[in-house]
């Protein structure tokens, strides 16, 4: 046999034959695909190949979608029993499972995330959200939200590009279960799985107009936010845009939920299980290329274990497989867009300039597409920009603390409050820390775990309201009384 030491994994690409991408797409309004007027390209960020042309939603498109949603709400969906609504949701969930490979491949092509993640995380979780909410549709009065709740009517939903299908599921499933109809706008760089979801709605014979999808950019989103025919706005995206939306909605009667940015602290105490903590740090910041609002982007290490953790973290980071997202062995895929890559570079350069020490995993980046090697900055302090601003990429800022209280104080010293992580084998410390942390989701000895039964949402500038669980359901109902 050959005398070679290294175990090179041969390419193991997932086949893209399972998807057929049309050269051009329109909107999905009133149960039908309707042609758009202006179009913009959507590309594969791993190769810069143009995948298709996406319609830019105009005022008349949004008007038509809202009109269709209103009609469906008044004539069909609000009159239908919860049991019947639930049947549609179950049907959608099952079809999503049946077409899981198609969704996973399309998501990876359009978004740049590794097929392992779209296959094992995004798509199964999206289906799980429909299954979970399907069960609530006929049990709303038993959800502990009061017995006289009503749907809002038409919900306008604007979702981000980091988990395109999953964020669609987080928005659409509870809205439909509660009896609302929706107008949804996917992010401009990642519309394809939402358009495939429109096909699933047709396949499930969902009544026309219950789900409407208008593609486009921020201007289309603004049309939805400001549309007088919409009763509720749900937005997931940056804090910056969230503030604009909050201002726009404030003088109206619209109800609103916002899932915004984060700068989560991942706190490793001296008594942590170090190897698993290192895995959790990697999963916290490098999962989905760090394009995760709840990413553990600020690592807080207790000083007496900092050196050991950092040394193990670097060893582990050198094993991260960066490259072709369609390869089943890839751990870190492409940055979603050129624009995002520039933002990551800009903030990383700020880290250099402010005197933090940069270390990137030694890995070869593909020549085409948008790539950023997994990177950590050590010697970061609270006053560095990279400790305060959301980078939304595979870049980790490492800070240290001396006592548990100092760790908590640094963790909370941020305008954000979406998530936090605690690593300790000592149960009493975990409970103590979780009570001090001002964040919506707190993981103990794990990170980036999601479940439809668990509410998700932020404190402070990370958002308003919750998604998932009974709390998330309440956002799509009015007249809620918390019993």
């Amino acid at each position: 046999m050959e005398d070679k030491l290294s175990f090179e994994y041969a390419p193991a690409p997932e086949s893209r034959a399972v998807v057929s991408i049309k050269p051009k797409y329109g909107h999905f309004i009133g149960g039908k695909f309707v042609a758009g007027t202006k179009h913009f390209p959507t590309i594969n960020p791993a190769t810069e190949e143009t995948l298709s042309a996406i319609a830019l939603g105009s005022k008349s498109d949004v008007d038509a979608a809202v009109k269709s949603a209103r009609k469906a709400y008044v004539t069909t969906w609000s009159k239908m029993s919860g049991k019947e609504r639930g049947k549609y949701l179950f049907r959608i969930a099952r079809i999503m499972q049946e077409r899981a490979r198609e969704f996973a491949v399309l998501e990876t092509l359009d978004n740049g995330k590794p097929i392992r993640e779209s296959r094992d995380v995004d798509v199964p979780l999206a289906a799980a959200h429909f299954f979970y909410h399907a069960g609530w549709a006929d049990k709303l009065e038993f959800a502990g939200l009061g017995t006289s709740t009503k749907p809002h009517g038409v919900a306008g939903q604007i979702i981000p590009w980091n988990f395109p299908l999953l964020m669609l599921a987080w928005k659409v499933a509870p809205a439909l279960a509660a009896g609302n109809t929706v107008v949804l706008k996917p992010a401009e760089t990642t519309s394809l799985t939402a358009l495939l979801f429109a096909e699933v709605c047709q396949q499930a014979e969902l009544p026309a107009g219950v789900v409407n999808i208008v593609t486009g950019d921020g201007s289309t989103g603004a049309l939805i936010v400001n549309h007088p025919g919409i009763d509720k706005i749900a937005f997931t995206g940056s804090t910056e845009v969230g503030k604009i939306i909050a201002r726009a909605v404030a003088p109206t009667k619209k109800s609103i939920t916002l899932e915004l940015g984060g700068k989560a602290a991942n706190i490793v105490f001296e008594d942590a299980a170090i190897d698993e903590a290192v895995e959790g740090i990697v999963n916290g910041i490098f999962f989905n290329q760090g394009h995760v609002c709840c990413a553990g982007s600020r690592l807080l290490l207790q000083e007496n274990v900092a050196e050991e953790v950092l040394s193990k973290l670097k060893t582990r980071m050198a094993k991260i497989r960066v490259g072709d997202p369609m390869d089943k062995n890839t751990d870190l895929g492409a940055i979603n867009s050129h624009e995002q890559l520039l933002k990551i570079r800009e903030l990383s350069a700020a880290g250099d300039l402010e005197g933090a020490e940069r270390w990137s995993a030694p890995c070869e980046l593909p020549g085409k597409g948008f790539w950023f090697a997994p990177t950590i900055f050590t010697g970061v302090t609270q006053s560095h920009r990279i400790a305060r601003e959301e980078i939304f990429g595979p870049v980790l800022s490492v800070l240290t603390f001396r006592t548990p209280q100092e760790g908590i104080d640094k963790a909370n010293n941020t305008p954000f409050g979406l998530s936090a992580g605690i690593w300790s084998e000592k149960g009493s410390k975990v409970l103590w820390a979780s009570r001090q942390l001002r964040a919506g989701v707190i993981w103990a000895n794990t990170f980036n775990k999601f479940d439809p039964t668990s509410p998700f949402g932020g404190y402070k500038e990370s958002g308003w309201g919750r998604e998932g669980g009974r709390h998330g359901l309440s956002a799509y109902l009015k007249g809620v009384s918390h019993e």
Partner: protein, 315 residues
């Protein structure tokens, strides 16, 4: 012995050394092992993995019914696993009971298998329930008979009672007997130690005491070489290397029956301890049925179809 400067042989120093180890989070270790099990190993890398795995097999027979004839057949298979294909490498060693060692060694030498080791299970295998004098004699017998590798069991009772120093002293004594004649593999019987914290503790204890290899199981207790247990042991040898600059080997044994399982083990090695461990001198797989599945998969890769099981020899 200076135990790499990690302990001085006293109970107090051993307690301090083991007490400084960080814990293992079971959920996290399980998740990491499950993630690594999703690696897709195809074409050239699969072929490389199959041949590498063959060289790492400790081809084993540990039955009350073992006879010289059975052991000789095993040795023949070990040297030339596929009589029709000379490109198939020999396995790492044969693993037998004490009284079969000289038969195995003599037969291997007779058929050109000088490069194949003979491993003897020792210290009142599999339970370890005997006096130290018997354990010493057991080991000495095996070495006198020509064993090049000693697979000893630890006293799990003592370990679970927290009498770590006794476990440590036993390993030290057996290592002394091995001297330069035999490599020492220390079997934990992880199915009896149960927790990953115990596996980690046993790993560091055995390495400081002088083990050349740490081994999961006897093959007589289930569960045996589960992926997370092997992961924890690979992390231990990796960390021990960074502490001492000495590489200790790992041997999963029990429950690894097919090529898929074996390749998963190699992936664990590659991404945990590192590619330096992908050699039979640092990684072995204790198995009996595995070898034939590796041969079947190898034939399939060459021919493009699965052959009848009759094309591989049963022993």
């Amino acid at each position: 012995m200076n135990f790499y400067g990690l302990v001085d042989g006293t109970e107090a120093s051993l307690k301090k050394y083991l007490g400084a180890l960080s814990g293992v989070d079971q959920v996290g270790a399980d998740a990491r092992a499950a993630m690594l099990a999703t690696r897709s190993i195809k074409t050239t890398s699969k072929r490389w993995a199959i041949d590498t795995a063959i060289t790492m097999v400790d081809l084993t027979t540990l039955e009350g019914a073992d006879t010289p004839g059975k052991v000789k057949a095993l040795c023949t298979k070990a040297v030339r696993p596929d009589p029709t294909d000379s490109t198939v490498p020999s396995v790492g060693a044969v693993c037998v009971y004490n009284d079969m060692v000289s038969i195995a060694r003599t037969h291997l030498d007779l058929i050109g298998g000088q490069h194949v080791g003979v491993a003897a299970v020792s210290t009142a295998f599999p339970s370890g329930r005997a006096s130290m004098a018997v354990k010493i004699q057991d080991t000495q017998d095996a070495i006198d008979a020509g064993a090049s590798e000693i697979d000893m069991v630890i006293d799990r009772g003592a370990f679970l009672q927290g009498r770590y120093i006794e476990v440590f002293d036993e390993i030290v004594k057996i290592r002394e007997i091995c001297g330069t004649k035999a490599h020492l593999k220390v079997i934990f019987e992880t199915g009896e130690l149960v927790t990953y914290d115990n596996v980690r503790k046993a790993s560091f204890l055995a390495m400081a005491a002088g083990a050349h290899f740490i081994k999961t199981s006897t093959g007589k207790v289930a569960p045996a070489a589960t992926a997370p247990v092997v992961l924890v042991m690979l992390e231990a040898v990796r960390d021990f290397y960074s502490m001492t600059n000495v590489r200790i080997g790992v041997k999963p044994a029990g429950g690894i029956r097919n090529t898929k399982d074996a390749i998963k083990q190699l992936v664990l090695v590659n991404e945990t301890a590192g590619p330096e461990w992908l050699t039979p001198s640092l990684f072995r797989i204790g198995a009996s049925a595995l070898l034939n599945d590796l041969l079947m998969q190898r034939m399939k890769m060459d021919d493009g179809y699965y052959a009848s099981p009759q094309y591989v020899t049963i022993d």
